[in-house]
């Protein structure tokens, strides 16, 4: 349409549209703005706009219009590439470059856009070799040597634009071509063009680094070339035959052809020189350090042999040391320097590191030690000042991580070479975390300590998580220097505990005199708590690891340390210190001859004891819940590793450790009893501190989840008391939050599977589980239950029972599932009865469904056929009752929607859990139930998972409104569920009632077209099994008709719309099966599309492309090989004509 109008009119129209877009929001209406946007959009889509664009560029004075003209050229060149003469493309490129050169005063964004167009042309041309890169580098080289800063800046812009276009990253313009194309361009470029850019850049940097005085304009040019160098060194080199997507933190892995360029020591020296020159400019310093960091990460085929690598590294380390030594590091250098160190430690093989001249290696390690300590101190200062940008903290983290890497590979290095550094780094960490006078915590530069009471909300992570990386490194260094660090921690902790004890006693006396808690100065106490907090965290990380899911071992360094000193140790004194946490360690005779590892545990037990005694003296208000958490966290971590140490797992074992904590020792029994008392005390005293109660109950779970430990636990009287107390719901356990109560129930059930003689076992279950059942049955069997059901006490009893059932389900393990399943099944049917009684109480209904969710989640994978069926039946009944009670129910209260959302989410979770059996099934034809199910014929199958799930979907579907789908978790769960169903039970879909079927199809369409790409992909994945199902059956079912509709949708999506490349595979698979099913309709779609093309050239291209697309799979059949062939052709198809069709 533009073509029909004369050039001056077009320019006027565009200029006035630009005016609208640039006007302040108050001056123009939304419609005007939209119209203006539309003007530009359709201008950019107009056919062959080259002449008019040139004209605009030469005449218009409006920057925005110039920008749009450049964009239009770029888009049109790509779109019409095959139709254009190569010479006219060439002249267009020359025109654009000259245009920019002749107009040094162009707005930056206009200039960059024009250069982008040039870069895109060069890249597109590199495919059919129509445009050579060489000429452009020659031109740029000339620009650089001009010596004119403006021209040099322009040259840099050209190179940067080329780099971005060829990098095949997110910065690259999308030009509708396959990743294959982008990959090929990139590979070609990195062998030739990229290296030319690098060499040109090096010349410029060399030139500038020689100059004495740089004026502002020149240093600006310098900065741009430095940034360019950084980009080159951060290039994500593509290996042959591989298309990689750019990732973050790319390491430098150049190809062999780069040897000459990068192994030249002068290049590295140049970067050190450049950094020295500009290090006070924080922006430039970041680039120069990043360049060095990239050089420090260099690896791969560029090194011809190890000796080349060694001399490269030696040169790097020498340069680094001479750069760092003798300067005072700027704040802005900290992160960069730590990156260089971290990269070289991670990337260079240990053999290369150890091959460094030993003096150089020692200097490097010493330098690293000093830097780490110094960054650590600066990081602590940053925390005091509460800075937003924690540069030293980041740098410190990086260096600590590097230490971890080094000491984990300790065996490669000279023996003991890390001990002294480890001591220094460890000491400085401890010092930064202790209060004055021993430490420097909270001291600002002028030595004044600050003490502020900020509000901390529950979302803030605990230090043990927040600083887990730092603590792991420090713990590891502590192990390396165990001789120093373990006794140090012990003496510091013992000292703080003694002081805490004294301070609490003084406060108690003070309170007796004044009894006003407000008059207590908490500063001294809080300082002690914070010291103890860090000492316990470091001790925990030093003594034990916390691997997820496997049995943690005593770290070998700790074991060796204990063995090494075992001859000097007096076992009895050690046990005495361990067994008397109420006494001061130093008051015990011979206390210097104790095992240090046990002594450190004893120090924590002493802390624990001071805390427990304070609670008994009614001083809970003065205690720190944080310290309480630290104590139980430590004890749990410790117990997992040391308690009942299994000698078989170790080559050698320390006598003190095995005597104190081994199986069948008094020590182990004593400590289990002690921990149990601690747990019981905490649960009654700290019910109001949810996190502490949670950590406490987790300690209890740890004690019973391993059979060996549980065997000792159940011998303790206090365990039985706890069980009885909980079963009778007597105070104070009922004050605990519901999640803690659940875990407590879980622990009590786990304990029940410990070794006991059968009488005891029977008695235990009679104390723990039967009261639960009894109370519940007594209650619901009361004649007037329906009347009293709404009474608060009754409701609470019911809720407590339901919570307990969830806890019981959580305790499921493969060896107890048989008995727990039977026990829970009895409840499940009663729970269904409760659904009726509490149909008006949404929070109770919610909890009932949750019980089913938990049982299905924890048990279904172990259940054999007959048991599964029982569970399916129960779930089906539950859903039926739920559905009946919610039919045409209307509620007006504000939380009605939220309640329903909760219910639906749980129901879908339940259904997904039931379906998961199709993927994860540990049941071995009822093996875990052997001797139980005999005689039940498998053929009497009454309810299948499919029945339950489809019935559930029946309930869920009508309730899933588009509003509800706005809750992301609900939306995800919903689509996950329906995709599962389509994949697992495609044969059930055609049998659905009409309404249900329609809404399912609508959901799929909605998910495909208007949801996130993740959900769109799920829906596409659901289509193939549906189409395959259809192919097996009659051809006139509603599903058959629906799939025809989906064919059109997927076709449009792939061919006509710009879609996510990740989706091509899922969409392609769906398209192929749909094409198989509806070949005639597919041909029709293609015909319609072709007949709408007016342009003969485009028509032919499209027709060819469609022929090629199906050539390998004609006639299409549902055969894997053909499908793969189709998918391959589809990729080419999208690359060939995808861009062409996107233009309308």
């Amino acid at each position: 349409m533009m073509a029909a109008v004369g050039a001056p009119e077009v320019i006027t129209q565009l200029e006035s549209a630009a005016k609208v877009l640039m006007a302040p929001p108050s001056m123009v209406s939304t419609e005007q703005r939209q119209h203006a946007e539309h003007v530009f959009l359709s201008f950019r889509k107009s056919k062959s706009p080259f002449a008019i664009c040139k004209h605009i560029l030469e005449t218009s004075k409006v920057d925005y219009v110039l920008f749009q003209a450049a964009t239009a050229i770029m888009e049109a060149v790509v779109r019409e590439w095959i139709l254009l003469e190569k010479t006219s493309i060439e002249s267009l490129r020359a025109f654009l470059l000259t245009y920019v050169l002749q107009r040094p005063n162009l707005q930056k964004y206009v200039r960059e856009q024009i250069l982008l167009a040039v870069a895109v042309i060069v890249k597109r041309g590199s495919l059919d070799k129509s445009i050579s890169c060489k000429s452009i580098f020659h031109e740029v080289g000339q620009l650089i040597s001009s010596g004119n800063p403006t021209v040099q800046t322009l040259a840099c812009s050209i190179l940067t634009a080329l780099l971005s276009e060829f990098s095949s990253s997110s910065k690259t313009s999308s030009i509708g071509l396959s990743m294959e194309f982008h990959g090929n361009c990139k590979r070609l470029f990195q062998e030739e063009g990229l290296r030319q850019i690098f060499m040109l850049t090096m010349e410029v940097l060399q030139e500038f680094s020689r100059r004495e005085n740089l004026n502002a304009q020149m240093s600006c040019v310098f900065q741009r070339y430095l940034a360019l160098a950084n980009q080159v060194l951060s290039w994500n080199f593509l290996p042959p035959n591989h298309i990689l997507f750019a990732t973050q933190n790319v390491t430098l892995k150049p190809t062999e052809t780069w040897r000459e360029a990068l192994l030249d020591t002068r290049i590295m020296d140049l970067f050190f020189t450049v950094h020295r020159k500009i290090r006070e400019d924080s922006d430039m310093a970041q680039d120069s350090l990043q360049c060095l960091a990239q050089l420090a990460s260099m690896h791969g085929p560029i090194f011809p042999d190890e000796s080349a690598q060694i001399s490269y590294l030696a040169h790097l380390v020498e340069g680094l040391l001479s750069m760092i030594n003798g300067i005072e590091i700027e704040d802005s250098e900290a992160v960069g320097i730590s990156n260089i160190i971290s990269n070289l430690i991670t990337m260079f093989p240990r053999s290369v590191l150890t091959a460094l001249p030993s003096e150089l290696f020692t200097s490097f390690i010493n330098c690293l030690t000093l830097l780490t300590c110094s960054f650590g101190r600066s990081a602590a200062l940053e925390e005091v000042l509460d800075k937003d940008d924690m540069v030293y903290m980041d740098a410190y983290d990086k260096l600590l991580e590097s230490w971890l890497t080094l000491v984990q590979d300790e065996e490669h290095f000279p023996r003991g070479c890390f001990v002294q550094p480890a001591i220094q780094v460890f000491n400085s960490y401890i010092q930064c975390h202790l209060a004055a006078p021993d430490g420097t915590r909270n001291l600002s530069v002028n030595g004044i300590s600050s003490h502020d009471e900020e509000e901390i909300n529950e979302l803030q992570e605990d230090d043990r998580e927040l600083f887990s990386d730092q603590l792991s490194s420090i713990g590891m260094l502590g192990r390396v220097a165990a001789d120093h660090c373990i006794p140090l921690l012990t003496s510091l902790l013992e000292d703080r505990v003694t002081r805490l004890h004294g301070q609490l006693q003084r406060t108690q006396q003070h309170l007796m005199a004044s009894s006003d808690l407000g008059s207590v100065d908490r500063k001294v106490l809080d300082d002690l708590y914070e010291d103890i907090h860090w000492l316990i965290l470091v001790s925990g990380y030093l003594l034990a690891d916390d691997p997820q899911g496997e049995t943690p071992l005593i770290p070998s360094e700790v074991m060796e340390f204990s063995i090494k000193h075992s001859t000097e140790v007096d076992i009895n004194t050690t046990l005495q210190i361990l067994g008397s946490p109420g006494e001061k360690a130093s008051s015990i005779p011979g206390c210097n001859r104790t095992d240090s590892v046990i002594r450190l545990l004893s120090a924590v037990l002493r802390t624990s004891e001071v805390e427990s005694r304070a609670t008994r003296a009614s001083l809970t208000e003065l205690l720190s819940p944080q310290m309480g958490k630290d104590i139980v966290w430590f004890l749990r971590r410790w117990a997992k590793t040391y308690l009942l140490v299994d000698e078989k797992l170790y080559e050698q074992i320390s006598m003190p450790l095995s005597t104190a904590f081994g199986a069948d020792t008094e020590g182990a029994q004593w400590i289990v009893g002690y921990l149990l008392e601690k747990v019981i005390n905490n649960l009654s005293v700290w019910s109001s501190e949810a996190e502490l109660a949670n950590d406490t109950v987790e300690l209890l779970v740890t004690l019973v989840e391993k059979r060996e430990r549980a065997n000792i636990v159940v011998q303790c009287e206090s365990w039985w008391n706890l069980a009885k107390q909980f079963a009778s719901r007597s105070p104070p356990l009922h004050l605990l939050s519901s999640s803690v109560q659940r875990s407590l129930m879980k622990a009590l059930v786990l304990g029940g599977f410990a070794h006991m003689d059968s009488d005891t076992k029977q008695q235990y279950w009679a104390e723990v589980l039967h009261p639960l059942q009894q109370r519940f049955l007594n209650l619901i069997n009361q004649e007037n239950f329906a009347q009293i059901s709404q009474e608060e006490a009754v409701k609470q009893e019911i809720v407590a029972t339901l919570e307990a059932l969830c806890g019981i389900a959580e305790a499921t393990q493969i060896d107890n599932v048989a008995s727990l399943f039977s026990f829970l099944m009895d409840f499940l049917s009663s729970c269904i009865g409760l659904m009726e009684v509490y149909s008006n109480t949404p929070e109770t209904i919610n909890l009932i469904i949750e019980v089913f969710v938990e049982v299905a989640h924890k048990q279904i994978c172990y259940l054999g056929e007959t048991k599964s069926m029982k569970l399916y039946e129960a779930c089906l009944t539950l859903l039926q009752v739920y559905s009946k009670n919610n039919q045409s129910r209307k509620r007006s209260d504000a939380t009605a929607e939220e309640d329903q959302y909760q219910d639906l989410l749980l129901i879908m979770e339940l259904l997904t859990n039931l379906l998961s059996k199709e993927f994860i099934d540990f049941s071995d034809t009822d093996e875990v139930f052997r001797n139980q199910d005999q005689g039940t014929p498998a053929s009497s199958r009454t309810v299948s998972a499919a029945d339950v799930v489809l019935y559930g979907v029946n309930i869920v579907l009508p309730l899933m409104s588009q509003d509800l789908l706005k809750f992301p978790s609900l939306c995800n769960q919903y689509y996950k569920l329906i995709t599962f169903i389509c994949e697992i039970f495609p044969e059930k879909i055609p049998q659905l009632p009409e309404d249900l079927f329609k809404s399912l199809m609508f959901s799929l369409e909605l998910g495909m077209t208007s949801m996130s790409s993740e959900i769109s992909q799920l829906c596409l994945e659901a289509l193939s099994p549906l189409a395959e199902q259809c192919a097996k059956n009659q051809k006139d079912s509603p599903l058959f008709i629906a799939t025809r509709h989906f064919l059109k949708l997927v076709f449009d999506m792939l061919v006509l719309q710009k879609h996510n490349t990740e989706m091509t595979v899922a969409a392609g698979e769906a398209l192929y099966t749909l094409v198989c099913l509806h070949q005639a309709e597919y041909s029709e779609l293609v015909e319609t599309l072709l007949s709408s093309q007016r342009d003969a050239v485009i028509y032919q291209r499209l027709a060819d492309a469609f022929n090629k697309l199906t050539a390998s799979s004609t006639p299409p059949t549902m055969d894997r090989k053909q499908k793969v062939a189709f998918l391959k052709s589809l990729e080419e198809f999208v690359a060939n004509v995808g861009g062409l069709l996107c233009v309308k």
């Binding site: 901390i456 209650l779 609470q796 009893e797 929070e843 007006s892 209260d893 504000a894």
Partner: protein, 160 residues
């Protein structure tokens, strides 16, 4: 610790309902989201519950946000987690709708007792009730009661 004493000493669910108090105390930390609590004298459903502490070694405080179960107005409160809060006794009961006159409903419970003291609620729910009564439909309503207030909050079809 004074506040760990039993707050449920009369934990006996067979006691009659006539003497039940309007509220009962619960330790703040054991309240739960979606449960009920009295905020600033109003019976509320808890829609948000977060904890915080003053200083790293401070004790937990609970921030409660609730909606008045009848007016849907929002109320908030902060309370140390060891303290007790009042929880209203909230009951829900279904009645069959018998008649509607001058804005008041005639309702019958499952024991056959009728009452005429409840107003037709405002808004869509009220309109729906009026429409159903006018068309002679047989249906039930849910009535929620807490403290001294009682309101119709929902519609339910007759379950046979």
């Amino acid at each position: 610790m004074g506040n760990t004493q039993s707050i449920m000493a009369d934990d006996d669910f067979t006691s009659g309902d006539s003497g039940a108090s309007a509220t009962y105390p619960v330790q703040c930390s054991s309240l739960r989201k979606n449960g009920f609590v009295m905020l600033k004298g109003h019976p509320c459903k808890i829609v948000d519950m977060t904890t915080s502490k003053t200083g790293k070694h401070g004790h937990a405080k609970v921030h409660l946000t609730g909606l008045d179960i009848f007016t849907q107005k929002k109320y908030e409160d902060i309370c140390p987690s060891t303290h007790n809060m009042d929880v209203p006794n909230v009951t829900r009961k279904d009645y069959q709708v018998v008649d509607l006159a001058e804005g008041y409903l005639t309702l019958m419970d499952d024991g056959g007792e009728t009452r005429e003291d409840l107003k037709v609620p405002e808004g869509d729910l009220g309109k729906d009730i009026e429409k159903r009564v006018a068309s002679g439909e047989n249906f039930m309503v849910s009535v929620m009661k807490a403290i001294d207030d009682e309101h119709v909050v929902g519609i339910k079809n007759m379950t046979s």
